[in-house]
């Protein structure tokens, strides 16, 4: 490896499920991010390398992968800031690998949709006009609505790794985002779902999800808030039933 090149070591998995590592030399002056490096490899060295990407600007959330052992979005990881010339790229952990760096995101999206991440209204209303919301009310949940569903938090969470049914950080943060929305009236349905054995009670504040989140959503804080909401809801239900 010369001074002028980065060494990219990429995990490969072909159609037969055979796994190996391929190594490529990428010139330093041609690329700045890991994603650009992978695109350079695909254009110049190896057309068979598969990886997902779309926007290249940390908005679409498709290029999640493990760079040097840490889950990151490849598009926003600048190679010169990694502190080493050897870039090791693996597919995200805790997902089924389809090919090379492409993983099966279906379980993640299923869990995401299980938390009812949409506005729920009760009663008969006329929806011809909008439901008002002040900037302060928007600020309440703004942070949690920044999630781009890249799934990095699921790859970082040790509990997702050992208990694949655990909902995971991003779906729980999405639940809080809608519970905090003033237009929403469906908190009790969501708390009913997340208060169980596979919801918030599986979180033990390892804090890795917050560490890897590229958008600053802070899922571990979201889970803490959600847990307090859940405790209040469960205890309230318990005492109301005995009246």
């Amino acid at each position: 490896m010369s001074e002028k090149n980065y060494e990219f070591v990429v995990k490969r998995k072909d159609d037969n499920g055979k796994e190996s590592y391929s190594s490529y030399e990428v010139p330093k002056d041609k690329i700045s991010t890991v994603l650009e490096g992978l695109i350079y490899i695909k254009e110049n060295f190896d057309q068979t390398l598969s990886f997902r990407y779309s926007c290249r600007m940390e908005i679409c959330g498709s290029c999640g992968m493990e760079v040097n052992g840490k889950p990151r979005t490849a598009c926003s990881t600048i190679v010169s800031q990694l502190g080493t010339d050897r870039v090791k790229v693996d597919p995200m952990k805790h997902y089924e690998v389809i090919k090379d760096l492409v993983v099966d995101m279906d379980p993640f999206f299923t869990k995401y949709s299980e938390g009812l991440p949409y506005i729920i209204r009760e009663g008969e209303e006329d929806y011809s006009s909008e439901i008002p919301q002040t900037p302060e009310q928007f600020k309440e949940y703004e942070q949690y609505s920044m999630c781009i569903k890249c799934g990095l938090c699921m790859a970082a969470c040790p509990i997702v790794g050992s208990d694949e049914d655990y909902m995971g950080p991003a779906p729980l943060a999405a639940v809080l985002r809608y519970n905090k929305d003033n237009r929403d009236q469906g908190s009790k349905y969501r708390l009913e779902i997340v208060d169980g054995d596979e919801g918030t009670s599986r979180c033990h504040f390892v804090g890795e999800c917050t560490e890897v989140c590229p958008k600053g959503v802070d899922p571990s804080f979201a889970i803490q808030r959600l847990r307090m909401q859940g405790v209040r809801y469960e205890l309230g239900k318990f005492f109301r039933r005995r009246k």
Partner: protein, 138 residues
Amino acid sequence: MVICGGVIKMENKTLKKPMTSRGTLGTVSWFFQVISGLFLVFFVGVHLYLAHIDFGHPIVFYDSVINNLKNPWWLLFYIAFVWVVTYHGLNGLKGILYDMGTRPKTRKYIAYILVAVYIVTVIYGTILAIIVSQIVIP
């Protein structure tokens, strides 16, 4: 479920059960874990101080243990200690076993077994403490 004007309206009877059973009480059991943990910091502190330091008169040997339990407040303290520490320990173990990704059916058995162990331990501990407090030192 009715979709009108981009807003999804949901009524109680139309709410479908989630795909995997997520049960209830997980949050509350973990909340009690925190509360019991904070109590135990106090309990264990007092216990360690009495049993190992207490500047010259630690409660270690037979006579000192029984004399200590003769005081009804200490008896109450130790019985409460047994109840709380056993809950904290077994609930923590439950958390570890659940985190291993056990199936819901296995979890039911784990919960039953741990509740049984808890009840047996607590009853045994309470009876032991009361019997010991009644022993007359020769």
